[in-house]
Symmetry: C2
Subunit: 208 residues, 2 copies
Amino acid sequence: MSITNVVRRKRVARENYHHGDLEAALIDAAVDLVRQTGPDHLSLRAVAEQVGVSPSAVYHYFPDKDSLISGVGDKLFIDLAHMQREALAQIPGVSARAAKLRYRELGRTYFRWANKEPNLFRLMFGGFCKIEKQGDHQGNDAFLMLTQCLDDLLNTGVISKAMRKYGELLSWTAVQGASTLIVEGHLPEEVFEDLLDGLELAMRAGSK
Amino acid sequence: MSITNVVRRKRVARENYHHGDLEAALIDAAVDLVRQTGPDHLSLRAVAEQVGVSPSAVYHYFPDKDSLISGVGDKLFIDLAHMQREALAQIPGVSARAAKLRYRELGRTYFRWANKEPNLFRLMFGGFCKIEKQGDHQGNDAFLMLTQCLDDLLNTGVISKAMRKYGELLSWTAVQGASTLIVEGHLPEEVFEDLLDGLELAMRAGSK
DNA sequence: TCGGTATCTGAATAGTGTTCAGATTATGGG
DNA sequence: CCCATAATCTGAACACTATTCAGATACCGA
């Protein structure tokens, strides 16, 4: 369906007929509106209007409004992973110092994403998007990056062998929780750096 | 008009009249409906109908639907703190063992609450309720309980002085994040006990 | 008992998600 | 090249929603 759309894209759009890929245009518009209004308060009709299409046209690409929102979530997870990958790429090196910086920057990128766009963060983790594979944290791009960072920390002697086992779990949950609690106003923004300090210290616990 | 007519009207009206506890009745009904439908998909009219009152009656107690939802959130936070207090009360004693059990049970209660009622958890931390005092984690009931637990752990030598400083921050964020990630299907339910193990080990890091 | 006030109703308005018959456009087969 | 067919989108309709407001009702104090 979307493949034929891409192929057809070389033919230029007619006035009333929508060029190539309406599905992506709808998601982009939805991202824009969710950022302003929040995942609740999103209007399917407003999305259609922003793209310049009738409300019923949406139903050729998404069975209902919730599926459209879920599609937005899929895109956002990809965007976040992409942003994290770029952040890591800017800190090369195999030293302990570089490994530490990468680890912290991975968490910061996650948090900055949440803090800059609270409504998009709420869409991702507020039960709006259906996760297909339950508990598929392995194979996840962001999870693999975290694993790599933790391995580097272990190999450079920054963290203990005993804590390495809990590395992904503790880091991911703490950063996720801090993002939520700060975004929702339960904790002040400044504590995030403290949390990174605490995590780094915590990961040295136990026998080497 | 006849006497019987007047009497009947009075009787019917009295049954429909709520006498000031309508506010609480509305919130209770809203809790019930949110549990089933989620914080989005809540219908103000359905809440009113469940209580047996007209939709416009709601507006005498809440300026709009969002405020009603926010009121639900306030109640849920109180309920959660109450549940945690009860959980702690069932584990008395000043030993290291008791302190550990209390610490873990505090986290478990938080997680069980989230896992048993995902939609209520989403309402609490999904941007649906307006937090009045930004970053007012001190003075919070649940926070005080956590502080007490951590002090007990320190005094019984279970955790290090160096990590005590990060105790509330690391514990709260990790448990919060784990609850979210498990509820939303990014992590399997079983890892929560692993997280408690990891937290307990982590809190021993650094100098005593 | 009366008057005022808090409480609730009924109707109306504007906006929502969703469905569906049909109009429009592009594509593939002859 | 043309035409049938499929894909794409529109317009109108339906049931439902939040919200407002004038007015009816029940309660309470004097």
